[in-house]
Each structure stands twice: as structure tokens, then as C-alpha cells.
Symmetry: D2
Subunit: 265 residues, 4 copies
Amino acid sequence: MVSNFISSHGGSISDANQHTDSSTGWFFMRVEINAATLPFSLEELKAAFSPIAQSFNMDWNISDSAVPKKVILMASRESHCLADLLYRYHEGELDCEIPCVISNHDDLRSMVEWHNIPYHHVPVNKEDKQPHFDEVARLIRENKADTVVLARYMQILPSDVCQEYAHRIINIHHSFLPSFAGAKPYHQAHERGVKLIGATCHYVTEELDAGPIIDQDVIRVSHRDAPEEMVRLGRDVEKNVLSRGLRWHLEDKILVQGNKTVVFN
Amino acid sequence: MVSNFISSHGGSISDANQHTDSSTGWFFMRVEINAATLPFSLEELKAAFSPIAQSFNMDWNISDSAVPKKVILMASRESHCLADLLYRYHEGELDCEIPCVISNHDDLRSMVEWHNIPYHHVPVNKEDKQPHFDEVARLIRENKADTVVLARYMQILPSDVCQEYAHRIINIHHSFLPSFAGAKPYHQAHERGVKLIGATCHYVTEELDAGPIIDQDVIRVSHRDAPEEMVRLGRDVEKNVLSRGLRWHLEDKILVQGNKTVVFN
Amino acid sequence: MVSNFISSHGGSISDANQHTDSSTGWFFMRVEINAATLPFSLEELKAAFSPIAQSFNMDWNISDSAVPKKVILMASRESHCLADLLYRYHEGELDCEIPCVISNHDDLRSMVEWHNIPYHHVPVNKEDKQPHFDEVARLIRENKADTVVLARYMQILPSDVCQEYAHRIINIHHSFLPSFAGAKPYHQAHERGVKLIGATCHYVTEELDAGPIIDQDVIRVSHRDAPEEMVRLGRDVEKNVLSRGLRWHLEDKILVQGNKTVVFN
Amino acid sequence: MVSNFISSHGGSISDANQHTDSSTGWFFMRVEINAATLPFSLEELKAAFSPIAQSFNMDWNISDSAVPKKVILMASRESHCLADLLYRYHEGELDCEIPCVISNHDDLRSMVEWHNIPYHHVPVNKEDKQPHFDEVARLIRENKADTVVLARYMQILPSDVCQEYAHRIINIHHSFLPSFAGAKPYHQAHERGVKLIGATCHYVTEELDAGPIIDQDVIRVSHRDAPEEMVRLGRDVEKNVLSRGLRWHLEDKILVQGNKTVVFN
């Protein structure tokens, strides 16, 4: 009925993907329509499609790819993920706006400001982190962010923020989850003697490092690699996995089903 | 002092590897000597080297690559790992003797006997598994096995066997350990929504799926892959990881340090 | 119009993929229909759809997944690809019938006959290869083969056979094409000092090793790997790439466009 | 004799690798000595070792890891490889000095100068490129560069420069050589319909894209990837391969044998 609806209004589909989850019976669909072929504005399109969606009990969303998403990047002291995202943004690889970068440290200001992006240093008081989180929440709201990327932010966001921005906060964890959740995963990996280390990009939920996984990748290590070498090798995996996950998110290619993702890449 | 000892007797080193573990200060070394260049039998060589080893407090071993190791393969009903090892043995890829195959089921007899290898069907009584393990231990001893490979054997060997054959029993676990230890790892992986599945080859210790890891590998999966598909895709990873690990073991390229391995491949 | 046609007859689509080639404007589509939901036999379905296909000038095909394809395997002396395909067939991984295996040597007879598959030894006379090819063509025809797999067959099929079975003869070449076409690719790779070696599965055309590529993969090598080691390492890549390509072919997931493939996997 | 020489002077070996090339009989060795354990300056060490080297007809070199190499980066308009190397340098991943960056365009000046590295814009006159190359050669000499990295420089250096800096000029070619040498390799790859694209890091010789290969890697592509997508995907491979190759070069881990490399990584 989706393709019928589109074609009956003269719309042309440029890309389409479907998936049926055999265990739940859920049906997933993503359709890219050439907007110029439809006689609708975005609002009119939503209004016209709404009754169909309702009659089939769909969980649906339409977004306009001409309107770039607003993405706030959050970091701490480690720069590799932030630098990589800024570089890709600079080169036009990431179709988004970056209204600002927020960090609990001031170290990366110069790198961010070279890109003409505002840098907010919001320090964390270990005794009472709430003022930090309040200010972060205020900045997200003020900048009307669609998406928040935790580019090695190293703080655990409070539950209310996780819930308000469900499926819109992306984190990179520096292990191949579910192995080595929590702190110092490369040291945990070294301790266990694994032969591959990895990184995981996932949506943030209230439970630490347990949200829906968007993408993962690994790299080979050996007995010669001390934890410090693993940290260095892992950085490249983290950067690639995070930028890939963010890209799919910006292109609305990720659908969330419970604690899993359907990625139409 | 090792190279001095060898060269002072006219020996020629065909391959050598060293590694210092920076956290413990342990020094690992593997030397391949062209036997024809030494004026010693294996026993004479051991006798001549022993005082040096003692004075440096070495943990050492010398083996003769002209004497193939005796490897017993154990399986259950799933044939992919067994079939792969038998094929590689048949093609001369694995330098060993296979005195017999032991299984708690009779399903794979014909495949094994085609290779002219004796097949022992040793059933498991779920009420009392001890008779099974006794017979397995007897067969291992009778065949003077150097190494036992659990090629998807699916039973947990008793502690005394694990201890007697420490660092000589190789298992393949069908997950990227430490994730998804225990039963039905592909179903666990599907449940968690990971984007890569893997396999781990390790030496067996008393603690289930927790022994020193020899090798690991992964393969990409997506939301389209039901657990059954993961099982199918994972088989190829299991086969490759197990045969690679066994090969290194047969070539004495693996040194065990605590719960980790140094692999000089 | 395809989905309209299907849904207007009550048909249910279990999987669908589309692709538009931007350089040529060609549109590719693959639809899997749950046959039980259509009121047609295969022949009736073809007759009903034909006018629509014609009016849109489609190049189309419908096949019944309940009817397994007939696949003839051809080999020479090297057994790894043949053994792998036979094993997967045996385990039910490949949904096909294998009416026979043809080889110009008798070496692999016992392995094939263990699987209860007829083995035809058709020797090649180097002075005049035509009788060999005539007999091969006769066997293909006699067995009504849908597909021929050259599992390291090492002979170059004559043009007329390539043309008659266009897009139905699958070859595995033991290099990452277009590098190292022709003879002894691992030796060529060693000579050039590459750091990865690969294998390529492709449809056979008249021009040697130049047909549409179905799949490729690589494995890392180093200065330590002599050509013989590359041959051993490459075997695993060849097996995996060939079995993957054949599987997609059997599932009608490959569409050929000029000298390229669209693979809806 | 190398280890004898070192140990007889009380030196301690922190890492050692050996390799015998079986086809030529050449023996390769790399030894890392803890300098503090030797009673020599670098010059004294060279003088003491020289007679031994001569008597065994060795081709040898000793370098002091405390003295970082001087590396000149050359680029054109594309920034990804340059930005990646500058970032790694900034983070301390690359143990070297970068006296300057040379480009035939002025586009990347701001990025380079942010790192406090001098930027030389040396334009190319297409009618007569010699003045450009003269100025490049002058800058290399003036800065006493040990190594030159062509980070997508896109010009072909004259023979005399290639010879003067043999095994010291590192290039990144954006294909999996020997496939697709020369211009527009991603377009060539798209045309051929390959399923993996790659990048190759090699020492520059007079013959274009034919020098000793240091490292290579690949990434999977599909029919959905137009040449522009391949360019984007390939960038990540290029960056990783180039930075890895440069790192090994800086650590003196690469030995060149004819047109091949021995990489002791």
C-alpha cells in the first residue's frame, strides 16, 4: 500500500528496502522518494499518508533529506573520534549541521574553533554532576539538536536525558560489546588475552553500554600488543565505526526494534 | 645463550622468534634448528642443553618435527569441523597422525572410515556420564595421544582430564569469547543484536570456555540473519579458526603464559 | 507495476530488492513471492505477467524455488573446491541437485562416489582437445544442467559452450582479478610482492578470466609466505568465494548487466 | 654473529626478527638493542661492527631511535591523507619531525599552519614542470629530509629524484596494485565491476606505481557504489594503509629486497 500510495500520486521511488523479522512478524520498510515527483509539501504528504498509516497500524516517520539534521558532538579529552567527525564534516562526508561541541574539558577548543564551530566547556564537579548535566540538557534544547553524538564523552548521561532523546544519542564504546562493557575495555581485553579487539556504536539507553547496536568492527592484535598499543590500534576502529553509524543515522537508514537495529545500508 | 649454544655446536637456525612480556618481564623464545646441522640425537641435545636451561631457570621444551604428533579428534553430531580437519589431514595440510576419532554419536562413522581412521562410538548416559569419560580417557591413553581436539564435541570434560592434558586439549567455541560463553551462543548473539559473530579456539581448562585463547575470527551479520543463518555463517569461521589453531599447535608455535598465549606465527 | 500486479492477485512478497544504475538508467528488481498466496501455476503466472513485462520492455525471468537447479561440477586434480562444494551439498547448505561430476583426471572419483554422485572421467588429449569438449557438452546436455561450476577445472572451455551457457557457467580464479589473470597467479603474486592474495568467482565468457565478477575476497600474506604457502592460504579463500557465489546463483540473487553483476544478497 | 657481537659487549636485545628468503638464500635480520646497555656511541658502534659486517658481506644499517626522522609531506588538493598524517603526528602516533609540507596548490595551507608546520606552495606549470621539481628538490635538500611522503601528490617525480631518495619516498596509490595502476583507479575498478577496492603504499621508483609494496588493504563495495562512493570509501583505506606504512618506515621495520619488501612488524 505504500508503493501504491506513492505511485498513485505520481511519485517516483529512488530506493526501497524491506525486511520481515521472522520471530516477531514485524515488517520494516524504508522508501526514498524523489520529492520533486510528488505534488505535496512535507506537511501535506504527512497529512495525506496519515490515514493509510493508521489503518495499517504503522509506526512511521517521514523526513526531508533537504533539511540537514542538527548534531551536537560531545567529547572529553581524547580527540580521535571528535577530530575524525569534524574532518568528515569539513569534507562534506556527513550531511548535517553541527551547532556546537560540548566538553567537560577545555583541551579540544582550538581544534573545534578552527572549524568555526562554537565550543562549550562545561566542567564536571565530581561531588555533584547535576549542574553539568543541566547545562548540557539546556544546550541541547537551545540548539534544537536532533542528534547527540558521544564521541568518547566518558560521562554517563542521566536517565531523563536518555529517555528524552531515545534513539537519538549515539555512543561509541571501545570494545566489541557485549564483551568488556564499562571502564578500561582495552585493559580488560589484554587481561583476557583476546586476539581481536573491537568497537561498538550504539544508541544510548539507561543501562550502560547495553543499547541497540548500530555497527561494530574489530582489528587483529597479538601477544606483542600491550594495552597501550591496543588503545592506539583501537582508535582507528572506533573512528570508522562511529562515523559509519552516524552516517546511517543521518540518512535515516536505521530502524530500532526493541533492543536491536535494522540497518538498511 | 641459546643461539650461542646452537652455533657453538655448528647448528644452523632456520627460524627464530622472541618476545618479552613487558608487564611480567617473562622472555619467550622459539628457535627452529636444522637438525642435520647438529651432531646430536634428540636425547643428546636435551642432555647437552639441560644445564644451560637450568642455570637460566628456563621453562623449556625441544620437539622433533620429524615425529608427527598424535591427535585424537572428538566430535558429536555436527560434522563441519571434523570434516574440515579430516580434509586438511587428507591433503597433507596438517602434519600429524590421527589414531582415531571418538564421538558420543554414531552419525559420522562413514565419513571418518572413508579416511581409514578408526571410529569409536562412546555413548553418553545422561544419568551417569562417568563411564563415557572413563572410556574416553582410556582411548586417549591407549593411543598415546599428544593432543586432543574437541571438534564440536559438546560435552564438558572432567577436571582430571583437563589437568592431565593441560595445554594439549584444543576446543572450538562458536562465539567471540568472552561474549556468549556456554550454550547456544549464536542465539545469544542474535538476541543481543550484534553485527559480527565469531569463533574462538582455545586450550581447555577446568573453567568452561575460559582457557587460554589461541585464535579468534569474526564474520559480518545483519538484521536479515536469523539464528539459523548465523549458525550457517559461523561454521566457516569455526572451521578456519580451529584448523589454524591446530596447525600452530602442531608446529609448536604456541607458548602458554598463565591464561594467555604467545603465538609465534 | 510489479508490486501492483502481485498484490492485485492477492500475492504476498516475502523479500524485494531494487537498484537503479545511475550511469545507464537501468532499473533492477528482484521479488520473492510466497507462491501459496498466488492463484497461479508457474506457467499461468508467466502468461499473466508477460503482457505487463512487454509493455514496460522488461528483461525478466521467474523461477520456482521449489524446483532445485541441476548443477554439474567440473574439476581437475586439485580437490579443495570440489570437496568443499560436495560437503556443503551433503549438509544441505546448497539447494541444488548434482547430477554428476566431470573431470579430466580420475583422482577424485572415490571422494565423489562416497557422496553417491556419478563421476565421469573424460580425459584430455593435448593434441586434440575437441573430443573432450564434445563429451563434456554431451554430458551437460544429457543431464539437463542449469548451471556448470568450474571448481578448479583448469581447462578453457570453447566459445560455443561459453555462449550456449552464458551466465550459467561459474568459475573460480585463484587471484584478485583483474590482477594476475591466466596461469600460476600465486606465483605472479609472489613475484610482485603483494601483501594480500585473493580469489574471484565469475561467470565464464569467451575471454579468459574477464567475465562478470560475482564475488571476491582476500587474505593477508607476508614476506614469509613462499608461493607454496600462498597456494595453501589461497585455498580457503577460493572455497569460500566459490561456495558463496554459487549459493547466490542458486537463489537467483545475481542479475548480470553487461560485464558486471548486481548481487541482491 | 650479530647476537654474539652484541652480547659480548654487554648489550641487551629488546626485539629481534629474522627471515631467510628461500628462493634467493638472502638472510634478513633486524635487531633492536637497548642503547643504554652498550658502551658505545652510535659512531663507535658502527666502527666496532663494521669489520664483522664486512667479513660476512652484509648490507647493513644502524639508526638511533632517539633521533626522529625528518619527513616532508607532499600533497595536492585532496586533503584526507595529509589531514590523517598531521593528526597522527599531532597525537604523537608518528615518531618523526615534519619540517614542512609542499603542495602544488594553496588549498591546504590553513590546515597545515594550524599544526605550526611551514607550508610551501610550489605551483606546477603544465608546459614546463622542471622549475617545480627543482624547487621541490631544493626544499627536500634544504630541510635535510630523511623521508618524503607523497600523500596524494598526483605528480610524477623525475627519475633523478626517485634515484637519489630510493627507498625513502613513500607513495599511496588508490588501488589494489597491480590492478588499476595510473589515473582514476576507482573509475577503472567501477568499470571492471570488482567487489573489493583497495589501496597500496609503496616505495617510489622510476616506473609509475611499480615500486616495492609496503602494505595494502581493501574494502568491500557493491553494485550500489558509483565511482564517487568508491572514492569516499577508498579514502579510509588509503589513510590507514599510508599511515601504517609510514609508521613501519619510521621504526626501520622495512627492508627492501629487489622489488619487494620484508616488513618486520
